[in-house]
C-alpha cells in the first residue's frame, strides 16, 4: 500500500478521457502513492464565473473542497490532486476566490447548510506540481524502465494551467515543468512556441471550424519543429487537437496528422505500464500506436 492522496478525477476522466485517469492513477502507484478518488465529488463546472456577482459557479467547487476537507482529516493529508486542467483551474480559483472574499464564502457556507463550513486549508495541486515538488524528479527518474529515447515530444500546456496568474503552475510565458518531466522520462523535447496558446476550448461544441483552424496551426507548427507527438494534460485540448484534425485535413491539403497523447500516458509507458487497460489507445482518434511501438 502506498501513501494515500486525495484525487479529483472530474467528469471527463470517467468517460472519453479514461486514458488520462488510468495512466495518472497507475503512474502514481508506481511512485508509491495510492490516489483515492475524493468520496462524493461532483462536477467542477468546467469554467469559472468571471462576473463579480457570480456565486453559482463557485458552489460546486467549494462543496468539493469541503468534501476534501472532511476526507483529508481522515487520511491526515490536505492535498487534493487534479490532473484535468479545467478541474485544477476551477478548484484552485474557487479556493483563492473564497479566501480573498470572505463575504462570498459566508454566503456559500450559509447556502450549503448541510455541509461543514470551508476552513480554507485544502491544497489544490495539479499532478505536474505534485510530481515536481512532492515526489521529485529524481524519484521519477529511478522509476523509468523504458526511457523514451528518440521520441520527439512537443509539450502543450494550453491556457488553464498557466492563466490567470494566481493559479499558474509555472511561468506563464515560458513554462518548463512539463519539459523537465518529459526529459526525465528520456524523451527529446522540441521547442514548441505555441505551447501556451489556446486550442479554441468550448467553441468545439458550436464553432467547430474555428477549432479546426486552431488545430491546423497548433499541429502544423509542432510538426515543423520536428515533433512526433504532442503531450498535454487537458482533456478538452486533447479532444480538440485530436478529433478536430479531421476538419483541419478537410480544409488544408498540406495538413499532416499527428497523434496527441497525455503526458501521463508517456509516463506510464516509460514506467513499463503498456497494457491497454492503462493506455486505452481506443480513446484516440489518431492512434499513437505506430509512433510509440518501440516502447510498447
Amino acid at each position: 500500500m502506498g501513501k494515500k492522496i486525495m484525487f479529483y478525477p472530474g467528469c471527463t476522466l470517467k468517460g472519453v478521457a479514461k486514458n488520462l485517469e488510468d495512466s495518472t492513477v497507475e503512474s502514481a502507484r508506481v511512485l508509491g502513492y495510492d490516489f483515492i478518488e475524493l468520496p462524493g465529488w461532483t462536477c467542477c463546472g468546467a469554467v469559472y464565473g468571471l462576473a463579480q456577482d457570480s456565486v453559482k459557479f463557485t458552489i460546486a467547487n467549494v462543496r468539493n473542497l469541503i468534501k476534501a476537507q472532511n476526507y483529508g482529516k481522515e487520511i491526515d493529508d490536505n492535498r487534493l490532486i487534479a490532473v484535468c486542467s479545467m478541474c485544477y483551474n476551477n478548484l484552485k480559483r474557487a479556493h483563492i476566490d473564497v479566501m480573498k472574499n470572505r463575504d462570498k464564502l459566508k454566503t456559500l457556507d450559509l447556502f450549503m447548510d448541510e455541509e461543514a463550513d470551508y476552513e480554507g486549508n485544502i491544497n489544490v495541486l495539479h499532478y505536474l506540481q505534485f510530481l515536481k515538488n512532492d515526489v521529485g524528479f529524481d524519484k521519477i527518474k529511478s522509476a523509468v524502465k523504458k526511457p523514451l529515447k528518440g521520441l520527439k515530444v512537443a509539450p502543450y500546456y494550453g491556457c488553464l494551467l498557466l492563466r490567470p496568474d494566481e493559479v499558474a503552475i509555472d511561468d506563464r510565458e515560458d513554462p518548463h515543468i512539463l519539459e523537465d518531466l518529459l526529459k526525465v522520462l528520456g524523451a527529446e523535447v522540441v521547442d514548441y512556441p505555441l505551447k501556451n496558446e489556446c486550442c479554441g476550448s468550448y467553441h468545439t461544441v458550436d464553432k467547430k471550424e474555428i477549432v479546426g483552424e486552431r488545430t491546423y496551426k497548433l499541429v502544423s507548427v509542432a510538426k515543423e519543429m520536428g515533433a512526433d507527438v504532442i503531450a498535454t494534460s487537458c482533456p478538452l485540448c486533447f479532444f480538440n487537437l485530436d478529433k478536430r484534425q479531421e476538419i483541419a485535413k478537410n480544409k488544408h491539403n498540406d495538413f499532416e496528422h499527428m497523434p496527441i497523447v497525455y503526458f501521463t500516458q508517456l509516463m506510464a509507458i516509460a514506467f513499463g505500464l503498456t497494457s491497454q487497460d492503462v493506455l486505452h489507445f481506443d480513446k484516440h482518434y489518431i492512434s499513437p500506436e505506430e509512433v510509440l511501438k518501440k516502447w510498447l
Binding site: 472530474g10 467528469c11 471527463t12 468517460g15 472519453v16 478521457a17 462536477c43 463546472g45 468546467a46 469554467v47 464565473g49 468571471l50 462576473a51 463579480q52 456577482d53 459557479f57 484535468c84 479545467m86 491556457c159 492563466r163 490567470p164 496568474d165 506563464r172 501556451n196 496558446e197 489556446c198 479554441g200 476550448s201 468550448y202 467553441h203 468545439t204 461544441v205 458550436d206 464553432k207 474555428i210 483552424e213 486552431r214 482533456p235 478538452l236 479532444f239 478529433k243
Partner: protein, 133 residues
Amino acid sequence: MKYTIKEDPHKNELVQKVIEISGENIFSCYQCGRCSSGCPMAEFMDVLPNQVFMFLQEGDVDTLLKAKTPWICAACFTCTVRCPVGLDLAAVMEAIRELQLRKNYDYIDPYKVEDREELPPIAMVSNFRKFTP
C-alpha cells in the same frame, strides 16, 4: 469626419453595468493593442479586443451587443495576463455576454448540438455555461 460624443459615457447605463458586472475600470485602457496582438481568436472577431474598449469608452455598447466578438472570445486569459494596466478583459467580455444572457437570451440551443455522444462533458458544460443564461 466630424465625430461627436453624444453623451457622457460615465453616465451611460449599459457602460456602468459592464463595469459593475466585470469589476473592471474600462476607462483605464489606453489602446496599446497588446490584447489584440496576442489574441488567438482575433482573426475570427469582427471587433478587436482593444476596439471593444474604444466602443465602451465612447459609450457605444449597442455596437458591442450586435458584435460577434464577445461570443468568439474563448476566455483563455492571454490578454488578461498581458494587459499593462491589469484589466481583466475576459471578465469584460463576459459582462457584455451577461448583458444579454441576463435577459434570458440563449446564444446556443443545447438540443441542437451535433455529435453530443462524442463531445467531452467539459466541452458541453463550459459551452452551455458561457452561452446560456
